[in-house]
Chain length 413, copies 2
C-alpha cells in the first residue's frame, strides 16, 4: 500500500517522544500497570472513543479536553481498574491523576490525556498511583516502548507494538503505536486501547479525519466476542518534529501519511484479534461483490463475529454452511444464488451451492494455521463474494476456544 | 396473565390434531428424525420465518404456500439435514417431500407445510424419507406428541412441549406446541423450529397478527449464541374444532386467546434458552425504565446475548460491570447515573454506581441456580432499570460454558 518500512522503537520511534512503564501495584499480579507517553514538545491530538452509554471517567475526561484544547504533552494509562461506573468519585480520581502527573512533568494538567483498563466498577488505588509517578516520570526515555506496551496489558498474552517510516518531502516521517486487547473486542472499539505517535506536521482537523477513517478500516473491523467496552480509547499525537511542511489537505503527501497511519492501525488491530482471549489463530474475512464498502464491511464483521463460525474454526472444521448462514443474517441484501465462499485455496461454494472439496485437506489447512500461531502464518483466510457489486471490505477475528470461556468465567473472582 | 391451565398432550392436546415421529435413518445416530403433525380437518395457518438472506428450501416453500393458500392439513419436519444452500435440487426435494406425504395422507400437496433442521448444505436422503412415510402416516395418533417432539431435535438434550387450556364462550379451547433449539438461537428466530396447534375458531388475518406479536415477546427475545439460522420456522395451525364462535377481533375472547398463545410461545422459548448448547442455567433479563418497549427489549437482548455476561454467569461470578457494559452498548440512549442493576435479590448498582454486596452470597445464588438446572429453579434473574421511562421488556438466554465450544467445534466432522 505504501512504501513505508518497519523500524524499531514502537511508540517512541517518532522524533521527540518518550515512554515509560512500571508496576505501581495496581494489578494484584504485581505486573507492570502504569504507562506514560510523553512528547517533548506540544503535539496535536486526535481521538476516537467508545460509543457506549456507560463510559469510564477517563473517556469523558479526554473528550472534554479534546473539545477545548488541541495541544497535548502526555498520556497516562493505568491497567487493573477500568474506573468506569465509578460516578463522581471516579471522575475526581481522573482529574487528580492528571494533576499529579502534570505536576511531576511540569506541564498544565489539561495537557494530559488519560486511559484506564481493567475491572469495571473498581476505582483506581490513587495512593499507589501517585506514589509511583516520580519514578515513572524519571524513567521516561526513548527506550521506554517495551515497558509502556507491557504496562497497558490486561489479559493480553503479548505486547503489541509497531513503527513505520516513510519519506515525505525528502525527509523521514515516522508513526509508531502500541495497543492492548484482548476480550470485549468488537466493532466500535471494544476494550481496546491504542496510542499512536507521529512526528509529521499536520493540521488538527485533517489529523482527526485521518484517524477516524483509519479506525473505520482497522479497529472497528475486529471482533473477539461481540462486546464493546466502557473504556475504548484510540489517541494519536502528532508533534511535527520531523520538520516536514505542514500537511493540511489530502494531497500526495496527505495520502501517504494517511496510508501509513492506516497501516499502523491495521497492524495493531490484527495483533489484537490474533491475541483474542484463548485464540489459536487469526481469522481474516474478505468480502467482495457488495453494493458498497459499508455493506461489505458489515458482512465481513458478522462472519468474523459469529460464535458458530469461530467454534468451527477452533474445531478445524471447514463448515462453510455456518459462513453462509452468518453472511445471510448480516442485514445486507444479496441473492443467495450468487454466493461464493472460499477458505484459503479451497473453493467451498459457488453460485449459492456447495461444491465437492477435500474436507480433510481443508481441515489440515486450519490445523496448520493454528500450529503457526504467533508466527506470521497463523491467518485463516475466508473469502466471500456476494455478487457483482464493487464494494469490498475486510474484518478480523479469532477462533472461539475452551480457553476463552475459562479466561472469562473467572476474571473478577 | 391468563386463567389457562396446563394440560397433557402437547401438540395433540387441541381437538382434531394427531402427530407421529420415527427414525427414518436421516440422522447418523439412528435417533428419531422425521415428524408429522396432522389436522383431521382444514386448519388455518400462520407462520413466522427466518429473515436471513440464505434460506432453506422449506422456508421458501412455506412462504409461497402461505401466500396463496390458508388452509393446511399437515406439517412434515425432518432433522439431520437443513436442506439450505442446496439450490434448485434442494427445492425439488422439498416439493417431492410434500407430494409424497400428501399422497400417503390423501390430501393435496399444497396442504402440506415443511420444515428442516440439521447441517446446512446437506440434501435430504430422499429415498430414506419417502420409504419411511407409510409407517409415519400409519402411526399418527393423539399419543404422538412425545415421538414428534423428539423427532425434531438436533443437539437438544430434552424435548420441549406444552399445552394450555382456557374457557372461551363457555367452551374449552386448547393451544399446544413443540419446539427445538439449541445452538444458533438468537433474536429473529435462529435455528429454532416450533409448531403450534389450536382448536379455536379464529380469522386467518387475526391469527397471523397474534402469532407475530407473540413471537416478538418470546422467540425473538431469546439468544444462545447470536447466530440466526437459515431454517427458523414457527407455524401455528388453528382448526376451529373447539366449536367456539369465530374470533375476528381483539375483544375479550381475542385477548384471552392471544394471551394463551403468547404464554405457550414464551414457555417454549424459555425451554429453548434453558437447553442452549452447554447451558447450565436459564438467564432472564428484565429491563424497565426504558422510553418504550422496543428499547427495553433491545437492552434485555443485548445483555442476555453478551458473551462476557454469559461466561461470568457460568463462572458464578456476580460481575455486574459486564452487565452495565452490555446495557451501555445496546444502542439505546440512557443516563448512566440512572442505571440500577440487580441480580436475584442482590442490589449491585444504583444511580450508576456500584454498591457493596456480599459477593460470596451472590456467587452462591448463581451456583444454586446451576445446580437446579432442569428443575423449575434454574433461572438467574438480572433486573436492570434504565431510568424513569415506562418501557419494560424481557429476554432469555443461557450461560456460556466449555461444553458450548465442545459441541460447536465438531458438529459436522
Amino acid at each position: 500500500m505504501t512504501d513505508s518500512q518497519v523500524i524499531p522503537g514502537g511508540i517512541t520511534a517518532a522524533k521527540g517522544f518518550q515512554a515509560a512503564g512500571l508496576a505501581a501495584g495496581l494489578k494484584p499480579s504485581g505486573a507492570k500497570d502504569l504507562a506514560l507517553i510523553y512528547s517533548e514538545t506540544e503535539a496535536i491530538a486526535a481521538g476516537v472513543f467508545t460509543t457506549s452509554q456507560v463510559r469510564a471517567a477517563c473517556v469523558d475526561y479526554c473528550r472534554q479536553i479534546l473539545q477545548s484544547k488541541n495541544s497535548i504533552r502526555a498520556i497516562l494509562c493505568n491497567a487493573g481498574q477500568a474506573n468506569a461506573a465509578t460516578g463522581a468519585a471516579g471522575l475526581q480520581d481522573a482529574l487528580d491523576s492528571a494533576t499529579a502527573v502534570a505536576q511531576q512533568l511540569g506541564i498544565p494538567p489539561e495537557s494530559v490525556l488519560l486511559a484506564s483498563t481493567g475491572v469495571i466498577g473498581k476505582r483506581i488505588p490513587m495512593a499507589k498511583l501517585t506514589a509511583a509517578l516520580p519514578e515513572l516520570v524519571a524513567s521516561l526515555s526513548k527506550e521506554g516502548n517495551e515497558n509502556a506496551s507491557r504496562a497497558i496489558m490486561t489479559t493480553d498474552l503479548v505486547p503489541k507494538t509497531i513503527a513505520l517510516e516513510t519519506i515525505i518531502g525528502d525527509r523521514p516521517v515516522r508513526i509508531g503505536g502500541i495497543a492492548k486487547g484482548s476480550g470485549m473486542i468488537h466493532p466500535n472499539m471494544a476494550t481496546m486501547l491504542s496510542f499512536i505517535t507521529c512526528d509529521a506536521m499536520v493540521s488538527t482537523h485533517l489529523w482527526q479525519e485521518m484517524l477516524s477513517r483509519a479506525a473505520q478500516k482497522s479497529f472497528n473491523q475486529i471482533t473477539v466476542d461481540g462486546d464493546t467496552s466502557t473504556n475504548d480509547t484510540l489517541i494519536a499525537l502528532a508533534n511535527g518534529q520531523s520538520r516536514t511542511p505542514t500537511i493540511t489537505e489530502l494531497n500526495k503527501e496527505g495520502q501517504k501519511l494517511e496510508a501509513m497511519l492506516t497501516e499502523v492501525c491495521q497492524y495493531l488491530a490484527k495483533a489484537i484479534a490474533r491475541d483474542g482471549e484463548g485464540a489459536t489463530c487469526l481469522i481474516e474475512v474478505q468480502v467482495s461483490g457488495a453494493s458498497d464498502e459499508a455493506s461489505a464491511r458489515q458482512v465481513a464483521r458478522t462472519i468474523a463475529g459469529s460464535a458458530l463460525v469461530k467454534a468451527a474454526i477452533f474445531g478445524r472444521d471447514p463448515n462453510w454452511g455456518r459462513i453462509a448462514a452468518a453472511a445471510g443474517r448480516a442485514g445486507v441484501s444479496f441473492h443467495q444464488e450468487d454466493l461464493r465462499i472460499q477458505l484459503g485455496d479451497f473453493l467451498l461454494m459457488d453460485n449459492g451451492q456447495p461444491l465437492p472439496f477435500d474436507a480433510q485437506a481443508a481441515s489440515n489447512y486450519l490445523k496448520a494455521k493454528a500450529e503457526g500461531a504467533y508466527l506470521q502464518d497463523d491467518t485463516v483466510v475466508i473469502s466471500v463474494c456476494l455478487g457483482n457489486g464493487s464494494g469490498v471490505g475486510t474484518a478480523w477475528g479469532c477462533d472461539l476456544s475452551y480457553d476463552y470461556v475459562k479466561i472469562n468465567a473467572d476474571y473478577t473472582t
